[in-house]
């Protein structure tokens, strides 16, 4: 059983990313592929490579969603300095669709990861907070409404019937 209270000792030390000389890491260099087409020309042959395809299909069969796989693939490309993070995120849908095509072609069932789960219709905390705020406003408005009506009634005075008072349109 995993002890959640145990400290994580394999995590990077704070500031570890600053220990290397600036520009030594591949992602700190200009990317090798600067357009989505160049990046896709790099990835698509790799995905369709029979050696990699077998491993990819095995992973897909285990139920790992395509979103996670595509994210891992593009993240590794960013870390290797192949392309920028922007290009990686842009090409993710194409990578996912390609993997889905390859899975369909091989008859492998896969999890796309783009469909909402059945139990995921629970409203978020932000939505609940917003609804509560709106309800409070509506209650306040309802409570304040009679006062406004009273004020309006106060403003409406009875018409005077003296000799010098303005006549009504009816001539009375």
């Amino acid at each position: 059983m995993v002890d959640r209270l145990a400290p994580i000792i394999d995590a990077p030390i704070a500031g570890q990313s600053l220990t290397a000389e600036l520009g030594n890491r591949p992602w700190q260099q200009p990317p090798q592929y600067t357009t989505v087409e160049q990046a896709l020309e790099f990835y698509i042959p790799r995905l369709t490579n029979p050696e990699m395809l077998d491993d990819l299909l095995n992973v897909m069969e285990t139920g790992v969603p395509l979103t996670t796989l595509a994210n891992a693939i593009q993240s590794s490309g960013v870390m290797e300095g192949k392309h920028s993070l922007d290009i990686g995120i842009l090409i993710m849908p194409v990578l996912m669709e390609t993997m889905a095509y390859l899975a369909e072609e091989s008859g492998v069932e896969f999890e796309s990861g783009t469909n909402k789960k059945i139990g995921s219709d629970k409203p978020s905390d932000a939505l609940v907070a917003s609804a509560v705020k709106m309800a409070e406003k509506a209650i306040d408005k309802r409570n304040n409404k009679p006062k406004e009506e009273e004020q309006i009634e106060m403003e409406l005075e009875e018409p005077s019937v003296g000799l010098m008072s303005r006549r009504n349109t009816d001539g009375v």
Partner: protein
Amino acid sequence: MYNVGFIAMNNLVLPRDNEPQKQMGNSLLTRNVVKDNKPKEQDVNQRIAKYVSIIRKDRMDLKNG
């Protein structure tokens, strides 16, 4: 967790099929406008959407036989 792939895929606006072009009459009073059929340079999102739609169409063809 923040699922980048989910957001990237769901925010993609796939291109619609091209509507059939209306046939203009050849009479003298028809408007004399020459449409340029040159492909316009597309935004990167549109290009990605186009690639996805092409692969998806092939996948659906494969699925439906």
